[in-house]
Each structure stands twice: as C-alpha cells, then as structure tokens.
Amino acid sequence: MNVANSLRNGPDETGHFGLYGGRFVAETLMPLILDLEQAYEAARNDPEYAAELGALNTHYTGRPSPLYFAERLTEHLGGAKIYFKREELNHTGSHKINNCLGQILLARRMGKTRIIAETGAGQHGVATATVCARFGLPCVVYMGATDVERQAPNVFRMKLLGAEVVPVTAGAGTLKDAMNEALRDWVTNVENTYYLIGTAAGPHPYPAMVRDFQSIIGTELREQFAEAEGKLPDAIVACVGGGSNAIGIFHAFLDDPDVAIYGAEAGGYGLDVEDGHCASMSGGRPGVLHGNRTYLLQNEDGQILEGHSISAGLDYPGVGPEHSFLKDSGRVTYVPITDNEALEAFQICTRLEGIIPALESAHGLAQVMKLAPTMGKDQTIVLSLSGRGDKDVNTVAKHLGVEV
C-alpha cells in the first residue's frame, strides 16, 4: 500500500520522516552510509535474499512467534481481552534476532568481515553475537559499564558466543555511551567493519531498514489476529526505548485508524524528577544525536542528559525518528511508565501467566494494565512481549530486597 496520505510512506529519499531522521554523521562515514543504502535497496528487491532470510526466520528463529491469549491476566483486570505477541519465544529470547539476521545477510553481501554493535540490556548484543557465531564473523559489542554490571548473564552469553564485550566507562556507562564508542570504532575501521545497529534509530537508512526487518511482527499479528478474533485489535501496546519492537508491531496498523496504538516510555522515578527518566518524547524536545534528528532529553545548552530507567534496554535519552514523527502526527500515544509500575507488572505477569517478561516489555504490560479495565470485555488489546525476563531476575531481586 503506497497511498498519498498513508503514514507508512516514510522516510523520503533523504531519510526524513517529516522533520525527523536524516544523516547527521561525520564525513568519514558518509560514503559508507550511501553504500549501505544502495546495498539494502538491492537486497530488498532480490528474491534470493528474501528467501534466505525467510528460511532463517522459520528454522533458526522459530517464526512465526505465537499469538497467545492471556486468559488469567484478562480475568484479573476485568476488561478487554489481552493477547501477547510472543517475541520472547524467539531464538535468543527477544525480537532483536529479526533485525540481526536481516543485517548480517546484508553485511555478508557487502563483503564486510567484522561486525560491531552497541547494546543496552544485552539482548541486541546477544542476538548480534549469535548471528556472528552462526556466520563465522568476528564480533565486538560495546556495552556501558553500568549495564555490564546489571546485565551480567547476557555479558557471559555474549562471551560464550565468541564475541568480545567492551565495557564503556564514559558518561553514565549506559546505551548512549556504548553507541558513541561503537561510532568511534566504526569511523576508525570503516574499510572492513559493518555496524549492526540494534534499534530503529541512527542515520538513514538504519531507521527504515531496522523497521522493515521488525515489521514481520505486525504483519504476522495481522494475520494471526484475524484468525483468532476475525477482526483487527482495538489497541496495540509496545515498550519504546529506541523503539524497534514498537515500530515493528505498529507499522502494519498505522493506516487503520480504529486501532489505538500506545508506546510505553521509561518513566523511571517519574517525569517530575530531573534526569530521573528516559521518556524522551513525553519529557524531551527535538535535537540531533547519533545520526538523526529526534526527540532527546537535553538541557537548554543542547547537552544530552543521561536519564534513568530500571530497564537497561530503555535507558537511552533518544528514540527512533519515526516515533518522533508518529508522536507529532498524533497517530501513536506515547505514555511514561515508572520503574515501580513496570516492576509490579513484571510480577503480576509472572504469577498469573507463568511468563517472566523482560523489564522492557513489562513497561508495555503496565500500560496494558491501565488500559484493559477501561475497555469493554468485547474489546481486545495486543501487547508486544518483546523479550523474556531471565536476564532481569537479579535486578528485580535487588529492587524487592531479596538476596539471590
């Protein structure tokens, strides 16, 4: 579908979603980004590439991911029927693998021999290390030192998979700092290195490319939901850090005005706490960082703030540019969810459904828990259950005052 007034046409040929997006990178990287754009255009029109990716999605990742009716949670909340799109059941435990497979095939086509990535919670790092192991490519993952500590199990997984994990001590040692360091590596090793960005952000073509790889979530959901309920869902909810799982599940529904769409941002300690959250759209303003113009948390001098979230995967002061566009257009409603709301949702889901969600996904779930009771029993909500929470068990224990 490519109609004039569609919300699904972006970006334009210069990589802009309205005001947002673009290619704000150093000249050293510019030729490479133009190459990447060309290589991606060629790949997406090549049936062989599609077939190879399709086969990996089926046999390696385990797609399609199930659509699951969360019966006990529905009963507990007493309103709309709640479904989970279970991306946490994918190989490596999150939606991140969808993007990594698409990009590693592209890196191979481009003849790149070394892969670098940034990671926050470690889910993207694990998925990248996994595809690098699968295709025999060396892999360096940049990870903030704070995150290395709070996501120790994922650090070990990456090392087992053969990746080198480089802790980044600059700044607060979180995802933003990891991304700076990955960009520094890339600009230094531009000849042989492919930067496998994990979210739908960065310079064009990354936001569009990552969205395309993740859009399989929404495309599958459309079909599965029609089979389950014979209609479209009334609401879709996803957590938003950089926003790749969110744009992935949203994109197929952007032109269906009857489907309400919600993005749950990291509200941390609350929006009123200075530098105490990572809700870049609810609490920030447009600026330029990491290759794109988008909503950012920043001070009046244009210096980027560190922000805070209990969830390492949402602990980033920016967001993908297409989300900024969708916010301004009013199509998607972005809401902040606090650390405590996410922790509560995490526990309720675990007890009622026997599913331990990632703390990131628990932010989406907390929004579902607010919405469902306000909706009728004949209505439906789908949550993108983007990742599993095994990696978060230590963090949650600490917050609950339990020693593991």
Binding site: T14, G22, R23, F24, V25, A26, E27, T28, L29, M30, P31, L32, A170, G171, K176, N180, L183, R184, V187, T188, N189, V190, E191, G287, V288, L289, H290, G291, L296, Q298, E300, D301, G302, Q303, I304
Partner: protein, 274 residues
C-alpha cells in the same frame, strides 16, 4: 564575508611556510584559564585558532578531547560563554581567524539564525561541524555562508574523487583534510599518503588545505607542512593542558605548558619547507 581566513593563509604562504592551526576546547580547564590561553596563543606563533564547542557526546573524538569537553561542561561552559570568549579575543586581535568547531546539537538548540547573528557579532570567521555532511547543507552551511561565515568541511581518506565534488561544493575558508579514518588523538601512520591526498584535493580546489589528526610534535608539523597549507594540532595541545593540571584544576604551569608547545610547533612550521 570576513577575509581574515584568506588573508592569514596568504600571509603564511608569502612567508614560505604552512599556517599553524591550533585547537583548544573552550572553557577547558576553566573559563578564565581558557580565555588566557586563547588570548596568548597568537603571540606564541598560532596563525589560525580553532575553538572547540564542548558537547556531551563527541562521537568523533578520542579520550583526550572527550575529557576536555567534560572539564569544560563541569565548569559550566555553554555556547553563550564560548561566543563571549571570541568577542573578548576579538577586542585584542582583529586579524587572527577564529573557527568554532563542534557538533550540531548545541547550535541547533541555540537556534541557527540567532547563533549565526551572535557569532558574526562576536567575530567568528568559520565553522567546522563534524556531524553535518554535505547531505545536510540546508541546516547550517548554506545559512552560514549567506551571513558571511565560512563553512569548513572535513574531507577524509574515504572521500573519493566523485564524492570530493559534493564535499567541496559549499566549502569555504579552507579545506580540512583528516589524515586518517579514526578519531582525534590517534597516531599518524602514513605521511606519504597524506601528501598524496593533499595534492589530489588541490587539483579540485583553490582553497588552502589544512591537515589535521595525528600531528603532535614540531617534527610532525614540519613533515606534514611540506605539502599542506596548514597543519592542525588539537589533541597534543589539549593533552598539554591535561598533564599540567593538579587535582583536575589549572595549576601555575598550565598556561605556560600549552603556550610552550605552541611555540615548539611554530618552530616546526617555520622549517617545514627549508
């Protein structure tokens, strides 16, 4: 457009030597010391001055310049204060070109039009904005040129002949050739390739070519300055400041340490072509 940049490069060429382009971070290690360093640099032999705009996320800089930016920001440096530094310098020196160098976001948040007006009044001659490639010229490059401020573009080893046309199109003042793919502060490896690249760029433009990244000593400056119209030294100067600090603060030696290095480097460019 002010002619300070062209005049200064011409003067150096007339003297048979490259221009010495020195970089410091505005507000490092503190505003007062930074102003004194800036004000005294020309006397020690600097020909063109690049003044860094501190930014929280300097993606193209190595650890030395990252830390300098952090020191400046921790001391409360803002773009307002950086412009005020230029204004104070300009009252003492009407001829030495000042180039502001940094990243786009602080300028974007200040407001492009307001920034250009204030920069012009302060006496800024040119801008180097690392994360604004030719593809984003509409943001700042074209408005700057319209108001008479040069927009100096970086060219790199990855800029091939075809791309060079795009890069040079709206470049003014001088061309900054980055001697390597990498971040500031890395080591210079292949000086012959740098000379070749300078000659290649010269065949595409009449603008002076300054070379930066990896030039640390008077000998480096002399070697690179054989072919280049200007040699840019940044990290080495910032490190001289860093090494002079006591408990992270300016010491009695800080200003002398950096000015001493500028003097050495000036001696290097003097003998570059002798």
């Amino acid at each position: 457009m002010s002619n300070r940049i062209a005049n200064r490069f011409r003067k150096c060429a007339d003297e048979g030597r490259p221009a010495l382009v020195t970089y410091i971070m505005a507000g490092d290690p503190d505003l007062k010391t930074s102003q004194k360093i800036l004000d005294g640099m020309v006397e020690q032999g600097a020909d063109v001055i690049e003044l860094g705009i501190p930014f929280s996320d300097p993606m193209a800089d190595g650890p030395t310049i990252q830390l300098a930016g952090q020191r400046a920001l921790n001391g409360g440096q803002t773009l307002h204060k950086t412009l005020a530094m230029v204004e104070a310098f300009r009252k003492r020196d009407g001829d030495t070109p000042i180039i502001l160098m940094g990243y786009y976001n602080p300028i974007y948040i200040y407001g492009v039009d307001r920034f250009l007006d204030d920069a012009l009044v302060a006496g800024v001659d040119g801008l180097i904005v690392v994360d604004l490639p030719a593809e984003e010229d509409a943001e700042l490059c074209i408005p700057a040129i319209g108001k008479g401020i040069s927009f100096i573009r970086l060219t790199t080893p990855t800029t091939d002949d075809k791309r060079l046309e795009t890069v040079l199109k709206n470049t003014s003042g001088f061309v900054y050739y980055v001697s390597m793919t990498g971040i500031t502060g890395a080591a210079l490896t292949n000086t012959k390739a740098v000379g070749d690249a300078v000659r290649r760029i010269k065949s595409h433009t009449d603008l002076p070519i300054a070379v930066g990244f990896g030039i640390k000593t008077a000998d480096d400056a002399a070697t690179i300055g054989r072919d280049a119209d200007g040699v840019v030294v940044g990290t080495a100067l910032v490190r001289a400041i860093e090494n002079s600090l006591e408990d992270g603060k300016a010491s009695a030696y800080t200003i002398a340490a950096i000015h001493g290095l500028v003097r050495d480097l000036a001696e290097g460019v003097e003998r570059a072509r002798k």
